[in-house]
Amino acid sequence: MTSEGTSLDQMDGRVAGSRSQLFDLVVKTTGLTVLTLGVYSFWARTRVRRWLWSALRVGGTPFEYVGQPLEKLMGFVVAAVIVAVYLGLVTMVLIFASLNIWGSPGPGTAASFALLLPVYWFAQYRGMRYLLNHTRWRGISFSMAPGAWRYAGLAMLWTTLSILSLGLLWPVRTQRLWRFRAERSFYGDDHFRLGLRARNLFAPFLPAWVGAISCGLLAYAGLQDGGEGLLAILAFAVPATGIAWVHWRVASYERLVSSLGFAGAVSLAVRVRTGRVIGIHIGGWITVGIVLIILSIALTVGFGAALGSQLERLDAETLTSSDPWIFLVVGLLVYLTFFLGRGALRLVFVTYPLIKHIGSSLHLRGAAEVNAVRAGKTHHMADADGFANLFDLGSGI
């Protein structure tokens, strides 16, 4: 692909490590999280991110994640207090108002969710900003300028317009949000640029849009006269639309990333395949399911063996007289194991393969310009991604 003469001006992405190495790390960190009833999660998240960041190598140099667990802990506490006060008071007042005006808490609950949306986008921007501000490559930090509230405003505006246009403006929304984030993202002293126009996103969006609209119409017509023929078509149309939607997500991602540039003349390119992405998800989740089933069998057998030795002494008397807190703690541990286990396994069998698929296709042109990048103003942000965590954004990573 690369001709000899320009090889100095190109860099390729490579994703190092292996699933088994990540699996070992994830088992260790998840185990500690379970045993500490969740407190270790800040450390776990940091370590896993550090590993994933270092797996991505561009031009042979690994990325580095420099976020700190204690920063995350503080960020979580601050965000938790703000969200708790907001949620507690707003929910109560809205439900009170809605009960007194409409006689049912429904509208109030809906309103309190709707009021969370701007906060969600706010958190999304802050989460990305935190990640970029704590990412380094070649000893130089990425960063992102502040702008979370404006981002939330922009997202709200374009979401409203998309809804009003029956979804047709969704690609414009996507492009505008990407552009907003790209122009505020820096590598060292220079910011990123997005060179893609919104109209270039319509082609991959059209199949998904047509699919969704026709599914809606079919469902409406089917409900009207109960035509079973229509419902049969629907059974085919819905999965097809689903695939079209994934294709839109993949194709738009590929186009958007491939139009990013930074540091003067450096430009990025990735190749992502829809079929591969769907395959990774299906295969990954099946593997997660199998591992969880094996885990639960092992736990049952292990627990049964432990109990079996004491079975003669075990009757209703000892069961009721023993401390109920023991049952609570055992239940809690089992619950945590499965809940955290699912997230951790997903990281190994879905997220990492996806990163590998995308990262190893990454290609930088004009890479010689990278050498001229200098450290920029760092947008310090110590309060971490607490808000983003609360809304489970970028879940897992």
Binding site: L25, R47, F76, F96, Y335, R374, A375, N389
Partner: protein, 388 residues
């Protein structure tokens, strides 16, 4: 790259001279330029020092006691080193002689690179956070709920009560189908009579609705009030009573909660408290179920103060209508003899203060002049058969 530069100097004695130059990649933290550096080490007054010699002859010195390895790196080939000073400069070392050299440098270089010292600040922030959330859940939300409950319109309260009642029917059911509301004409008219007798002279903005739920599948032995004047008995409670006076006393206690607007205040408080707790716990553990359970534990009991006030109301009201408050004490005494005091987890999740305390209070108050019994024997039998 191959300039002999530093190798012209006399070799140091303690580490043997390295015949071939050993290279690594060095990033100085100021530019994104990759510098190929020649590695060597020397012993200075303050310990061993790693020398990084750049192509232009510039030498960077990294004292080995400050040198640490960046932890949790993917792959097993390259190692990344940094300084404990927080300097963004990095050294990427490939396997082979370069990694050997780093390992020989000093034992601490293999330890993970620590972050900045944040413990003290983190503890302060965490403490302040715990205090704030506790203040929110224990002072602020109950306070706002009290204020709001005063301004609740009766229609809104009835609507809320209806909703809560339907939820509790599902919540207390052993399976997924809601508990059956018992209905028998004679039984319901007996219940109506009892309610009118007990609530005599009590002025409420909405009608009292008293119902019995069939909990024969798994007995719950309780009664509860929700917003909008809805009081509910579980059938096992009625079966456990030996006389209608006992049921009247329990009813009066629940009526006390209704009159004091405890349920509506409590529902407002519980809904918002649950939203808070589920979001907070959901984040650490990633689970909403756990948050829901914690929220339920939080909402399950009225404050001790509210219970005592309901007892006081019951006592006065029973006096006024000529029924014996001591029936409450008798019933609780018997229940305790039969089932024992509930301790630990069960008490925490059940919605009444421990029986012992209640018996003491109920026993201390004298009985008034007793009027007619709460129900005639015939009506009492009808009430007991309401779920049959």
């Amino acid at each position: 790259m191959t300039s002999p530069g530093p190798w012209e100097r006399p070799a140091e004695t303690s580490p043997p001279p390295v015949p071939e130059p050993i290279f690594a990649d060095y990033f100085d933290g100021r530019r994104a330029l990759r510098n190929r550096v020649a590695l060597s080490f020397e012993d200075g007054a303050r310990g061993r020092v790693l020398r990084l010699e750049l192509a232009d002859g510039e030498v960077v010195r990294w004292p080995s006691r400050r040198l640490r390895r960046v932890a949790d790196q993917a792959g097993s080939e390259d190692r990344v080193y940094g300084l404990v000073t927080g300097d963004p400069a990095r050294l990427v070392v490939s396997p082979g002689p370069a990694q050997d050299l780093l390992s020989r440098l000093a034992s601490e270089t293999d330890r993970p690179l620590p972050g900045p010292p944040l413990w003290r600040r983190a503890l302060l922030v965490a403490g302040a956070g715990v205090v704030s959330v506790a203040f929110l859940l224990m002072v602020l939300l109950p306070g706002v709920a009290t204020v709001l409950s005063r301004f609740m319109s009766p229609e809104a309260e009835v609507a809320l009560g209806e909703l809560t009642y339907q939820q509790t029917r599902v919540m207390f059911a052993p399976g997924l189908t809601p508990l059956r509301e018992c209905f028998r004409p004679e039984g319901n008219s007996a219940l109506q009579q009892l309610t009118e007798r007990v609530a005599d002279g009590v002025d409420l903005p909405f009608p009292l609705q008293v119902a019995v739920l069939d909990d024969s599948e798994s007995p719950i032995l309780n009664a509860y009030a929700v917003a909008g004047g809805r009081i509910t008995f579980f059938d096992s409670m009625i079966q456990a009573a030996e006389s209608p006076d006992e049921i009247a006393a329990v009813l009066a206690h629940e009526l006390g909660h209704v009159v004091n607007a405890d349920p509506v205040r409590h529902t407002l408080q519980a809904v918002s408290g649950m939203a808070v707790v589920s979001v907070l716990i959901g984040d650490i553990t990633g689970g909403g179920v756990l948050g829901g359970t914690a929220g339920a534990a939080l909402q399950s009991s009225y404050s001790r103060q509210a219970e005592l006030e309901a007892d006081a109301f019951a006592h006065e009201q029973l006096h006024a209508v000529g029924l014996p408050p001591s029936a409450l004490a008798r019933m609780f005494e018997r229940l305790r003899a039969e089932y024992g005091d509930v301790d630990g987890l069960v008490a925490h999740f059940s919605s009444h203060p421990q029986l012992a305390d209640r018996i003491e209070t109920a026993g201390r108050v004298g009985d008034p002049v007793i009027g007619a019994p709460a129900l005639t024997p015939k009506d009492w039998q009808a009430l007991r058969a309401i779920c049959r």
